[in-house]
Every structure is written in C-alpha cells, then in structure tokens.
Subunit: 228 residues, 2 copies
C-alpha cells in the first residue's frame, strides 16, 4: 500500500497542536482504536446550541457507523448533511508524577470530522449484522433477524474516516529533573474496560451459552473467583 492509503493527512482541524507528538495519523492506529470501542460521542449544533450525545458505533472499512430510531432528532440532523464531530476515547491509566503539575493520564482518542450519509434501505440489514457480529461473533445467525417494519423504523448512518486523527499518551510520568530525588511513589495506575460475569435472562436459563458468552464468562471469572 502507498502512504496515502495507510495514513490520513492531518487537516486544519485534526492536526494535534497541544503536545503535538501525541498526534497519530495512520489508519492502523485509527482502525484499532475504533474497533475497540462500543460507544462514541457525537457532537453537533442545532438551533438550541451544541450537543454531545453518546451512542453505539462500529467500523467497517473506512467508515464509522451509528444507528437508531428514525424519530431521533440527532439522527434526523445527521441525515440532513449537517457537520458532525465524532470522538472515541479509551482511558488506559492514571499517571502519578512526583509533582502535582506533572500528573497525567494515559489514553487513546480519535476525533472524526465529517458529514453522515444514510445507508440505503437494502444495505441496512447487512450493516447492522456487522455491528452485532463485532460484539458477538455468530449471533446474527442465531437471533430473529430484523423484519421489514423494524428495519424501516431504523436509521443507519456512516461517516467517512477522511478527516480523522488520533491522540495517544502511553508510558510513565515525565517528571522535572529536580523532582527526581523526592521520596514520592511515582508510576502508572492502569485501567481497562473489563468483562464482568454474564447475567442470563431467567427465561433463557435452560439455553446453553454460546461461545462468545462463555468467553466473556472466562475473562470475568478471574474477578469472581477471587471474590468468592
């Protein structure tokens, strides 16, 4: 691939200025960051001001997708060609430095600017399957698929990843040289969004858990096992 295919050149809006070395403009970082997200924050302006609304998201190719009810005012505006800004953030840790001023956080964020386009009716079902498969591989074949009425009531939108950039901080504290001798604990308190024990719906208790539920359980069991 050429460099043009693997990176997104920074625009006036996406070029990271504050701590510029944290800016990352390659598609590998952007895609990985979006693929780890269940939720994005969507900002837009209407006659009442600026709004910032969390909503589920998923990526396919060089697009980020959102969906919802046709009745949603946010989705109506998004479908009308208004400018949006969409942000995904992963908080990875608290960075404890020897001075109050040098405390920081480790994070990975992606900011996308653009206009949403509506996914045509005959592609909605396939797009929503990609979302469900990303969360629970195989599940789109197990559940009752959306019927005509449900699909007709659902808006699916996507924004191209043409004007997008990531900002990433990793690693330990960066203290001033003259603070290095202080007898203060310094380091990182890492964190991550982690699975907790699945809760089966009572009426489904007799149904065997699919692989994705058992895997979720296996990761969650680390915690539950210790608490027991």
């Amino acid at each position: 691939m050429t460099s043009a295919e693997t990176s997104v050149p920074p625009s006036l809006r996406t070029r990271v200025r504050r701590v510029a070395q944290r800016g990352q403009y390659d598609r590998v970082t952007l895609h990985a960051l979006l693929d780890e997200a269940y939720v994005c924050h969507v900002a837009f302006a209407d006659e009442h001001g600026v709004h910032c609304i969390p909503t589920a998201c998923w990526r396919e190719g060089d697009y980020l997708y959102i969906h919802g009810s046709n009745g949603s005012r946010m989705l109506k505006l998004a479908g009308s060609g208004a400018q949006f800004c969409v942000t995904v953030t992963h908080l990875d840790g608290l960075v404890l430095a020897r001075s109050a001023f040098n405390h920081s956080m480790n994070y990975r964020s992606a900011v996308i600017y653009g206009v949403f386009e509506a996914v045509p009716d005959d592609h909605k079902s396939a797009a929503l399957d990609v979302f469900l498969e990303g969360i629970a591989p195989g599940r789109s074949k197990e559940v009752r698929p959306g019927n005509a009425k449900e699909l007709a009531a659902t808006t699916v939108l996507r924004v191209a990843l043409n004007e997008a950039a990531c900002k990433v901080r990793t690693g330990g504290p960066k203290d001033d040289e003259e603070d290095m001798g202080l007898a203060v604990w310094a380091g990182v308190l890492p964190m991550g969004l982690s699975p907790l024990a699945p809760v089966v719906d009572e009426a489904a208790a007799r149904i065997g858990a699919p692989d994705y539920v058992r895997q979720w359980q296996a990761v969650a069991a680390d915690r539950v096992g210790e608490e027991a």
Copy 2:
C-alpha cells in the same frame, strides 16, 4: 432538603425525549455518575465547526471542573463565555435480546449545558487538590505542590450543574412477546472500567507504595493472580 435542592428540573435541552423513562433529574444520580468519571467529553463550536474533545474532569459541590494549559484553544474559548455541552458516559453492559432489533446497551450518561467560569488564581491550587485527592486520597500532601509558575500556566474552569440531566438504562433485554419462545441465549454481558496492576516508575522502586496504590493493586490482583 427541598425538592428544588435535590433535583434539577429538565430544560428544553435536557429533557430526555427518546425512551423518556430513562431520564433522571435528581442530583444524587448526577453527582454519583460524575464522581465515578475520570474523563468527560466537551463539545463546543468555533469558526471551524463543532468539536468534541475528551478531557479530565472532577466534581465539587454543584460544579464540574476541567483544567489544562493556558495555551489550549478549547480552554481559551471556554473561558470566553461560549456555550458548551459536557457529557460523561459509563458503559455498563451489552444487552443481548432474542431479536436483532431489541439488542441494547446498559449505560449511565450525564449531559450538562452551560458556560464555564474561570476559577480565580488564589483558588486554583485548592481546586486542583480536590481533583488529585479524588484520584489518590492523601497524595496532594505527598507530592511537590504546584509552584507559582506552574499554577500561572494552568487554567481551571468550572460549569454549574444547573442545566443537566442523566439518562440511564439498566436490566435485561426487553423482547417482544412472540420472540420469548425462541431458543436464543438472552441476557446481559456486563462490563466496567477496572484497575490493572500498577506499574512503578523504575526510579521510585525503593519507595513504599501508598495506600491508594496498594488498594489498586489488590483489586487488579484478582486478574493477575488467575492469569499467572
């Protein structure tokens, strides 16, 4: 306390319309939701369009605080009286229903509208101590405090929680009656932001870990112990 003190009446902008029963307007829910957050998303508009930027936040009383370098364009705009929308979101789980259409997520989100005000110079240090104490109780007394130059370079802003509302979904899937007989696993895959094992800065390895680091370690050890 009177009802006026314990709840925030919904405004035109904060009244939850889509799935209105998820709207919550009491201060107990709002405060708890904000106190659990390390990061908020801040939306605002300038001559380049609408922006959505993640930043650290903390609550004291009926205000949400943010801070950063005086050089930040976002903070300069926030300090100039522009309208902002600030959102905090906690994702609590994936809700797996028997039909594709009825899948959902459990979450708690707070949306705040308002104008930021600058915290005066002589209150900055105390405000930042509240932030640090919230993350690591006792640490503000251990570290080198901010000096005059550092405090002068830092902007601290706060927005009143006067126009704010929460939206909360909890519980299991809500399936259509006619889908209840389907042999499909249904339930919730819960999740939460969890501590991982602390990483001490090499040069601080000889310094005993304070209580908040040992507590972080204890929670994280549940995972590490199982993986070993």
